[in-house]
Symmetry: C2
Subunit: 247 residues, 2 copies
């Protein structure tokens, strides 16, 4: 367990969807911003890591448990903690809490350090992670395998300029919008996500059209959907989402 | 001149574009949020106006003068002031200021009150605008006429679920993304906007594809672009943007 850091937030109108909940893409961006602030407060900002070591942090996996999505105007607390690290991976949790202290979402994330020039994974440096006081562990956490989508329904999304962030690739949060959008409005009005497993494989750039393939499975008490984001350069991301009926 | 209200803000990573400036769409959303907070602080929140009178505020026009767009991590102040009103229109200014006090953007906006049930414009009620202490004036401000785009280049944008806001129509900020996106990446890397005139004509809903038509005019010291957003239901918005070369 490492040092905790938190920030309070009030969900603004412009980050809410048609269900009056915060967009999950916006919540992920917000969570990353809070971990960035923790890094800054510990003297290990992204800029420092880049300038000193030529390395950048990359999220490779999310596992998100959702009790309830925050709603418009709700006051929430975003807590984060760098849990542990291995030779190659760093594990960080985020807890999104209601004002009452109840946990609304738990986000388990996996980060790697990438060498900006070679674009290759770089071993974790003890001096970079030391300030967070997280534990070093030998074994990487075994994430459940996500299987390729078969017999899926295809939607195409051209990448737009405003899908890109300052790094000129598609922002991580956008993938969730592609997953959700390919299910259609009726589905999203009837069901809400309760568990998301998401694996990022390869970044997406401008002037590119992605294919979002989705397969919907009916469960006893809801649905599971399986998603592949692909393009001319192969597979970019894969996800499984478990849904429950809205009340 | 009416009561001033302001809020300070630090531009987050996830609201920045490939040029490391805040996305204008995000800045407009933020500005509207600040005016919403002023209304709340004066006991005249959007909810109160809706619940008491069945009316909702609608932006019909923006005139935006841009000295410089705020950049990533910059601390800015958003000031707003309800300037004046007529029988049908309310005029509000926003000033986006740097930490030094320098004005970066001036946003002149025009609002109307719409009857939510009949979808028709409702005359401004003195009791709704009284708390802002703005002046009543007889004559409406004459906004420059925007002419239809001729010989324009067409791009099509299907409306996505996450283009919609809680009101289930396309968020006002999205139109700017459509205007900008239809100019392409090279244009946006070479030029920055210095003046925008934007007129909203009719809202856009889900399951709709909009046609964005743009005509580019070369000026001595930059370019002007003329934009129409149309669809099966006719014209939805129109804009003129004046651009200068990036330094």
């Amino acid at each position: 367990m490492g040092l905790m850091y938190h920030e309070d937030y009030k969900v603004p109108f412009y980050e809410c969807d048609v269900n009056q909940n915060i967009k999950l893409s916006a919540l992920l961006s917000l969570a990353l911003q809070v971990s960035g602030k923790q890094s800054l407060s510990l003297g290990m900002s992204d800029e420092h890591v880049f300038n000193t070591y030529g390395l950048v942090w990359i999220v490779t996996d999310y596992d998100i448990e959702i009790q309830r999505l925050p709603h418009y105007s709700e006051k929430i607390r975003i807590e984060t903690e760098a849990i542990s690290y291995t030779k190659l991976f760093c594990y960080r949790h985020f807890y999104i809490k209601a004002e009452s202290g109840e946990i609304l979402l738990t986000i388990h994330s996996t980060f790697i350090l990438m060498d900006f020039k070679t674009r290759k994974v770089h071993p974790v440096l003890d001096e970079i992670v030391a300030p967070y006081q997280s534990e070093k562990q030998k074994k990487a956490i075994k994430l459940p395998k996500l299987h390729p989508v078969e017999d899926g329904v295809l939607s195409e999304f051209p990448v737009r300029i405003y899908d890109l962030d300052m790094n000129r690739h598609v922002n991580n949060g956008k993938y969730l919008e592609w997953f959700f959008d390919s299910l259609g409005m009726d589905f999203l009005l009837d069901y809400e996500p309760k568990h998301i497993q998401l694996k990022y494989i390869k970044e997406v750039h401008y002037d590119y059209t992605i294919q979002s393939t989705v397969y919907v499975e009916n469960n006893d008490d809801g649905k599971s959907t399986y998603h592949d984001i692909s393009g001319d350069e192969g597979l970019h991301a894969r996800a499984k989402i478990v849904w429950k009926e809205r009340e």
